[in-house]
Amino acid sequence: MAEVVLDKVNKRYENGFHAVQDLDLVVADGEFLVLVGPSGCGKTTALRMVAGLEDISSGVLKIGDRVVNTLSPKDRDIAMVFQSYALYPHMTVADNIAYGLNLRKMEKDEIKRRVAKAADMLELGPLLDRKPKQLSGGQRQRVAMGRAIVREPQVFLMDEPLSNLDAKLRVQMRAEIAQVQQDLDVTTIYVTHDQIEAMTMGDRVAVMKAGVLQQVGSPQHLYEHPDTIFVAGFIGSPPMNMGLARVEQRDGGHTLRLGSTTLPVSDALLAEHPALTAYAGRDVAVGIRSEDMDDASVYRGEPGARLPVTVTLTEALGSEIMVHFNVDAAKVVTEDTKLLEKDAGTTDMPVHDTQGPKFVASFSPRSRVRPGADLEVAIDTDRLHLFDPSTGAAIRA
């Protein structure tokens, strides 16, 4: 077990592509760190550099106390789980798991013991004599895990290990991997493009964009205090709702003018974002999480603001109702939002070009909302997120 330190690590390909830029990251001993970001953000490259499958152009990579920049993968004491599992098709499950140990000329009894232990842990016992092609996707995934576990390495590296599984199995394996990692207490770096995996599995999550690390923190911290519009839009499902609002100064207080609605800036909000005063008379990007909005008619307490809307679509999920509507404010358009839209376009969020930004609110199931209804949405204005629309950075102190 060891910590992994990346100090100003860069990857520049021969064709000039700068895949990873000045990556600073410390993964603590026994920590489960998730690297997340849209495809092409450099997360897999970063992982492959840690594994030693990719050269490091500049910077220092340390595993434990050793600088491993030029060490070959086998000398780094790491184990990797590949997206494709990369099982050796001509070997049985047992041989697959034992391959790394056999190469290290370990004693036969010890190999047997370790394979049995790993098989026990992953419930692979009855499958040990089979070949990979006789296994289902989930079983293959387990074998790939087993191959990493038996090595008892200092660091686990996982490259989107669940992306080839169907949705149901993915949820199950997600919990299983997290459990195995917890039991073994091995430092783990896990790469995924799925923010739900990142949120549910990681002790900490590192969000990357275009080769640059955006923010590192606990999943909850990232969710509640995103540093940039990109992180705000990437972490959380549905993504954070965002619109342009004008900061207005009135009688010593501030308000945010979001389309035709005025959102008061409470003292609590201002205390958290004191720098907002400097934006008086200018536009800021206002972010509202879906759960910070509710049907005003069933809202308990006094809402900070009421937003009159026309509902376009409702999705009842039982525990909550997702309500879609358009807001008459201007859309926030930055590099980040373009990238997010592109990323979402490849998954399941169609982006309609309507007059205003499209918001999704999570109403409590007590609401009797129907599509097409005109109603007021209560907004918890203490929990607004504020960003500079030109730089995309959060407005704080």
Binding site: A51, G52, L53, S72, P73, K74, I78, A79, M80, F82, Q83, S84, A86, Y88, P89, H90, Y99, G100, L103, R104, K133, R147, R151
Partner: protein, 313 residues
């Protein structure tokens, strides 16, 4: 095949104690369908079989025909005897030729298979300066048949024979060397294409597991490319065994001849119609045996490879 055909046939011919004649009529129409769906394939198969077996039958009959001239050859010989085989082993140096052929064929096909696999592995897995030019050069060079280089090869080996007679004319080694070079191009390309289909993740996984390049090559890659190894080995063996042109130039000693030129010498004396084709045919049949055996051994891998690729995952 038998299983597929037998079940509709059984349906089409219900037993005589079949209680429902109406059903028999219905099944009778299914009988016509049997020929349209399955039967015609048998017909095509039979025609193809006759077509390909005819020359073999002819050679077999010639080998058994004690008279043994081309003019007296018939498909059904007038009398059968093994005199031709006897003559082959007593009057000619056939055993010697056979040994030479096997030595050259097995060694050169095995060695060229290995060299090509090593080259293909490098071209498929490593990225190095000059990789593309080298691949193109191989492709271009192999387009010219070895025949074109015969004069050059002859001159080269004249000198080599002077200094190193052990690998010069009239030794199997000279021929093996030339065959190695001749087959390298095609085999490398053929294999590289196959190597490229094996995911690179496997190499990397083995690398992380602690394998060296050699361990990856022998332990992971080679077992997975068995089908293409079998194909190249088989093609190489057949090509060397049946080669007359190069062998004829390099092996002139009766001692060092291969079967192909040895047998050719028996009938090429110019009086083709009177020569004893029986002995020639007997030699040809014996020579065919190793190829058939080799094919039987390797067939498992070739077919196995085809089906393994057909099923996804």
């Amino acid at each position: 095949m038998a299983e597929i055909t037998s079940s509709p046939a059984a349906l089409a011919h219900p037993g005589p104690d079949e209680p429902h004649p109406a059903q028999v009529v219905q099944l009778g129409s299914a009988k016509g369908g049997w020929f349209r769906q399955v039967g015609w394939r048998h017909l095509v198969g039979c025609v193809a079989l006759v077509f390909s077996l005819f020359p073999i039958l002819f050679v077999l009959s010639a080998a058994l025909n004690p008279v043994g001239t081309l003019s007296s050859a018939q498909l059904i010989p007038t009398g059968a005897s093994l005199t031709n085989f006897e003559e082959l082993f007593t009057e000619t140096q056939y055993p010697r030729w056979f040994f030479n052929t096997m030595l050259i064929g097995l060694l050169s096909s095995a060695a060229s298979m290995f060299i090509s696999a090593a080259a293909a592995y490098a071209f498929s897995r490593f990225r190095f300066r000059g990789r593309r030019p080298a691949l193109l050069a191989i492709l271009l060079v192999q387009m010219f048949p070895a025949l074109l280089a015969i004069v050059v090869l002859y001159l080269m080996f004249t000198t080599i024979t002077e200094y190193y007679p052990a690998i010069g004319f009239n030794t199997p080694w000279a021929l093996i060397l030339i065959y190695l070079g001749g087959a390298l191009g095609v085999n490398t390309w053929l294999m590289k294409g196959f190597f490229d289909t094996i995911p690179k993740d496997l190499d990397e996984s083995a690398k992380v597991d602690g394998a060296t390049h050699a361990q990856i090559f022998f332990g992971i890659i080679l077992p997975l490319v068995r089908p293409i190894l079998a194909v190249t080995a088989l093609l190489g063996f057949i090509a060397t065994v049946s080669d007359v042109m190069l062998a004829n130039i390099f092996l002139t000693d009766p001692e060092s001849k291969t079967v192909a030129i040895g047998l050719y010498g028996l009938v090429a004396a110019g009086r083709a119609r009177e020569t004893n084709f029986g002995v020639f045919a007997a030699g040809a049949i014996i020579t065919a045996i190793p190829t058939v055996v080799l094919f039987q051994i390797l067939q498992r891998y070739i077919v196995g490879g085809i089906t393994a690729g057909a099923v996804k995952g």
